[in-house]
């Protein structure tokens, strides 16, 4: 059994305009020491999937179903309907999360020392000195110089990259088994992004964490992930080991996504092949493949475009470990 097994996860938000199906039957696994990237555009459901795993969605505002079993140090846990009380015990201890924007995720009125020490104290019955020492150790680990003195600094006294390091230190203070990193480098400049990604790689091999990396940047994925799930309109449309996905994308959406990135190694001036149209509304999802209205390959499907529009293709395994949700025969792309 895998470390984390998510099966048929669904998250729906009732709104005055109708039911928004943000996550529409998602199934995947993550192993220890592995980085799984979840890639998709805004509104594809990548963040909501992970908020559901963390128990961070309001039970009143959303309907969550499905299962997510984590086989960790705390035994086998069903994360989806864990009582709030129990979730609080493992959140921050067994599972931790890093968010995109370090400025709004750190409390501006407390020193970073207070915040990291608090995260340790909540889950460990130890003296404050022990937690302080642990906080210093973590800050040193994430590469903040003069850590002991910097404990007394406030978030605004740090640059964006340094704040992101503080967030990582806080997330790792209890040595979590699973780290969910939601766009951890999107708000950062490229040179700082390179520093942070390198740091995450080093920490992972040291701590043997499982990492779920949520991002829209296929460049980041290429360097940081072991396996990739591509999401579109709340569903996983392709899943493969990282090398395989880039070398041999099977789903037209993945193919289009890769082709639409301006690439430094491809010279300039060439026209980008954009994906026409826009993602569908999550309130009125089409009956068939959600990507069909934007897809250039529907003519080549056995049964023609009508089949794509009327029947949702299943996520099928084409080569070992490489799944795609498409009616097209694997080699046809």
């Amino acid at each position: 059994m895998s470390f984390l097994e998510v099966s048929d996860l669904r998250v729906e938000f009732p709104t005055s305009d109708g039911l928004v199906k943000a996550v529409d039957g998602v199934t995947f696994t993550v192993e220890r020491g592995e980085t799984l990237a979840i890639v998709g555009e805004s509104g594809s459901g990548k963040t909501v999937t992970n908020l559901a795993l963390m128990g961070l969605l309001s039970k009143r505002g959303s309907r969550i179903s499905g299962s997510a079993i984590m086989k960790g140090d705390a035994g086998n846990l069903e994360l989806i309907d864990l009582a709030d009380e129990q979730m609080r015990k493992i959140r921050g201890k067994n599972i931790a999360m890093i968010f995109q924007d370090p400025m709004s995720s750190l409390h501006p009125y407390y020193t970073i020392g207070d915040q990291i020490i608090e995260a340790h104290q909540v889950h460990n019955e130890v003296d404050i000195e022990v937690s302080t020492a642990r906080a210093i150790e973590l800050l040193e680990m994430v590469g903040i110089p003069d850590a002991a003195n910097r404990l007394k600094a406030f978030p605004h006294q740090f640059s964006g990259g340094m704040r992101q390091r503080v967030m990582i230190a806080m997330a790792l203070v209890n040595s979590p088994e699973l780290l969910i990193a939601d766009e951890p480098t999107t708000a950062l400049d490229v040179t700082v992004q390179a520093q942070i990604l390198k740091l995450l790689r080093e920490l992972q091999s040291e701590l043997k964490m499982a990492i779920i990396l949520i991002t829209h940047d296929l460049g980041v994925v290429a360097g940081a992930a072991d396996r990739v799930n591509v999401m579109y309109a709340g569903k996983i449309v392709e899943s493969a080991p990282v090398g395989e996905l880039y070398a041999n994308p099977l789903m037209p959406y993945t193919h289009g996504l890769l082709a639409s990135i301006p690439r430094m190694d491809r010279g300039h001036g060439k026209r980008l092949s954009a994906i026409a149209g826009q993602p569908p509304s999550l309130i009125a999802l089409p009956a068939g493949c959600a990507f069909a209205p934007r897809c250039n390959f529907t003519e080549r499907v056995g049964g023609g475009p009508d089949r794509c529009k009327s029947t949702m293709p299943a996520l099928t395994e084409h080569t070992p470990g490489h799944f795609a949700r498409c009616h097209l025969e694997g080699a046809a792309l």
Binding site: A222, G223, P262, M264, H268, R271, Q278
Partner: protein, 329 residues
């Protein structure tokens, strides 16, 4: 063909005062956002301006359009020195120069319909050659909407009814309304998803040819800049450290900072990505209110020597590039 550059700046500086918080606000110092830059943009050319957050690239773009008053230096538009122009004197020139902003959410007035947003340009400038009455404005606006890929029937809709990519198209239509010659694109695709980003880049490319535009294309994403620009200028801490034709700068970067910046960009291909040689810069950008003496990059440069801390390097020619470094690559 007219050889006069469409836009040119010479030794442009823009400082923002830093004031203390007391009632008797005193100027404590200056944020040297743009600290003496010079470049020229030829007609029909796209100059990419890249750098990390806080390097002064957006301030530079806005100062060229005189949306900020320059602290010192000269700005030429079509050969005309506009540095000292009052806003009244600028108004007729404004039809020739436009800007497209990064955030398509905050740059459109949520209470105005698309028609009003795009049509405002005509009304403000009392343009009658394109549109003499309200009805003509409507048809001119709808023509523009069609040109940028929006449905002209959406004339009466409000910004919130559009997606991010469509909003950016509204911003582009607004900028095009008065048939400008020069557009500053300030991070026009940074807020968009990849598949939509490609649509907008292609649109900007097409419009450039159709309308005979020149762009100053400001972005932090070097792969986007490479795609669209003829020449690229790299900024660091208010200075241009390297400026060169696109092919040249990407293949043979001369300034250590350019080299580090290029090496930090992830390549969307796991095989190339793992083989990529990466220079990870240590430290952060120094404060622009107190830049290092000598070369501005000396605090993070692995090649810095004594001379770099005392003598500021000037831009000089090197194999077709201009580079500001004592020890270029």
């Amino acid at each position: 063909m007219n050889d006069t550059p469409i836009a040119e700046v010479k030794n442009l500086q823009k400082f923002f005062p830093i004031t203390s918080n007391s009632i008797f606000a005193r100027v404590k110092g200056e944020n040297k956002a743009v600290n003496g830059i010079s470049f020229a943009i030829k007609r029909g050319e796209t100059l990419g301006l890249v750098g990390e957050s806080g390097c002064g690239k957006s301030t530079a773009g806005r100062t060229i359009l005189k949306l900020y008053e320059p602290t010192s230096g000269e700005i030429y538009f079509n050969g005309e020195n506009i540095s000292g122009y009052s806003s009244r004197k600028m108004k007729p020139l404004r039809t020739k120069m436009q800007i497209i902003f990064q955030d398509p959410y905050s740059s459109l007035n949520p209470r105005h319909s698309v028609g009003e947003i795009i049509g405002a340009a005509f009304t403000i400038h009392g343009i009658d050659s394109v549109a003499s009455s309200k009805r003509d404005i409507k048809s001119a606006v709808q023509e523009l909407m069609e040109r940028v890929g929006l449905n002209p029937e959406h004339y009466n809709r409000y910004p919130h009814e559009f997606s991010g990519g469509q909003r950016q198209r509204i911003g582009i239509a607004r900028a095009l309304a008065l048939r400008p010659e020069f557009i500053v694109c300030d991070e026009p695709v940074s807020a968009l998803d990849v598949s939509i980003q490609a649509q907008v880049i292609n649109l900007l490319d097409d419009l450039k040819d159709d309308f005979g535009l020149s762009y100053l294309f400001i972005a932090h994403d070097l792969s986007v800049v490479q795609h669209i620009s003829d020449r690229v200028a790299v900024m660091y801490l208010g200075k241009i450290v390297e400026i060169a034709p696109t092919e040249e700068i990407y293949q043979r970067p001369h300034h250590p900072y350019t080299k580090a910046l290029l090496s930090a960009i992830p390549i969307p291909d796991p095989v190339l990505e793992s083989a990529r040689e990466q220079i990870v810069l240590s430290g952060d950008l120094p404060s622009p209110s107190n830049p290092p003496t000598g070369c501005v990059f000396n605090t993070r440069c692995w090649k810095a020597q004594a001379r770099c801390f005392t003598e500021e390097p000037a831009l000089h020619l090197l194999d077709g590039s201009e580079v500001a470094c004592h020890y270029p690559e």
